[in-house]
């Protein structure tokens, strides 16, 4: 693990990052203006939203696919592509689109 604030002498050579997936600490959910809201009744678990999400942040639950809001940027692709119209994009609290 590369220590926050590490000096260059401590760092691995050649800008190597020794662990995979360290981007996971970057919670891109804070970018979101619209939030996908899934209607669990309508979701048929077809996996389309899961397939197409650019963030890979759809999570399979027992009865539907939900969104990992830590990473969802609110692009709206899942809502647009859902064949069952099970996802609605709603404005996040505190956001405006003036």
């Amino acid at each position: 693990m590369i220590r926050e604030g590490a000096g260059f002498r401590e760092l691995p050579p050649a800008a190597i990052v020794p662990e995979p997936g360290t981007s996971l600490k970057n919670k891109t959910g804070s970018w979101r203006i619209f939030r996908p809201v899934v209607d669990r009744e309508k979701c048929s678990k077809c996996r389309i939203c899961w397939l197409l999400c650019p963030e890979g942040c759809k999570i399979e639950l027992e009865d539907c696919f939900e969104t990992d809001l830590d990473y969802c940027k609110g692009c709206g692709i899942c809502a647009q592509e859902c064949p069952y119209k099970a996802i609605e994009m709603v404005l996040e609290e505190g956001s405006s689109i003036a």
């Binding site: 990052v17 970018w31 963030e55 692709i77």
Partner: protein, 311 residues
């Protein structure tokens, strides 16, 4: 061979926390490609959006070993990795079997500055699968035109104005065709609008020994000027209007993988994007005519390259 949505693994090797714009088509492509390639994969990425958004030091969005390489040499770096692997295997220093070697670059890193490294990789016959994600400009540096930008598109370096009302005057370079002319075992075009077809092509490429080239059309909401939820729709329209043709050339045989009996009008594609908003009806008629002609002559053009055609 086919890919079934219901059978795809949950695991990803291109991970969240990357900083691509919301709705990024290239991010969708790379995630799906890595899902097919799986954990036994080494990637070399040229500078460009995918590299920049996935590797803000000390963060990285990769679940497999990944090397950032310069703008021009993804193919050279991947060639070197593959050659080193072979030597280490021969000397018995590593035991890993069936490692996938991927080179990933944008259209600028492929069609422009990286083409000689790519050509060399193909000619030397490295077992590298080269992926070009085509967002049709230099997006990471601020939407400058590339040789893969289509005719008539606005970019910051092909702005429509009084002197040049059309925007980009030159037509899109056909890199897939150039790669077919290299005679390598597998070349394909793909689109994120047809994700299972894209994934099947990646799987096919990985199963064939030797170099492969896959050119993936990846719409970019930021650079093409459309809403972030329309990425897949724009990708599909490119295919359905004939602006982007899906095919593969496997061991010298051409197969159109998405057959169209009738093309949708190109206007339906062009009007989805702000980068084409300056085009007049006459401009669109010219693009329509070019697409129709290219479509009609497509198969014959490949025959002339010595490729046989599957029905």
């Amino acid at each position: 061979m086919s890919i079934k949505l219901s059978e795809l693994p949950a695991e990803d090797y291109f991970l969240p926390g990357h900083r691509a714009c919301a709705g990024c088509g290239a991010a969708i492509a790379i995630r799906l490609i890595l899902k097919v390639a799986g954990p036994n994969t080494i990637v070399a990425s040229a500078t460009g959006c995918i590299e920049v958004i996935s590797s803000l030091y000390p963060e990285n969005a990769w679940g497999v070993p990944w090397i950032h390489t310069a703008f021009e040499n993804a193919a050279a770096t991947a060639s070197g990795v593959e050659a080193a692997y072979k030597v280490l295997r021969r000397k018995g220093k590593i035991s890993h079997d069936k490692v996938n070697f991927l080179a990933i670059a944008g259209d600028g890193g492929t069609a422009d500055i990286g083409i000689q490294a790519l050509s060399g990789m193909a000619e030397r016959g490295h077992n590298v699968k080269y992926i070009c994600y085509d967002n049709e400009a230099y997006m990471n540096t601020g939407i400058q035109r590339s040789s893969s930008t289509p005719y008539g598109a606005w970019t910051t370096t092909s702005p429509p104005g009084k002197a040049i009302p059309i925007g980009k005057r030159e037509v899109k370079k056909d890199v897939a065709r150039i790669m077919v002319a290299h005679g390598i075992p597998y070349v394909a075009t793909a689109s994120i609008g047809y994700p299972l077809d894209l994934m099947r092509k990646v799987k096919t490429a990985l199963e064939i020994e030797g170099p492969a080239y896959i050119h993936v059309h990846t719409p970019c909401p930021t650079g093409w000027r459309f809403e972030s939820n329309k990425t897949i729709e724009v990708a599909r329209l490119a295919v359905q209007t004939g602006m982007w043709v899906l095919y593969e050339v496997k061991q010298g045989r051409l197969r159109i993988t998405y057959k169209l009996s009738k093309l949708k009008p190109v206007e339906e594609y062009l009007r989805t994007q702000g980068r084409f908003s300056h085009l007049t009806d006459d401009d669109i008629a010219k693009i329509q005519e070019d697409v129709r002609k290219r479509f009609e002559e497509f198969v014959e053009g490949y025959r002339q390259l010595g490729v046989s055609v599957e029905a």
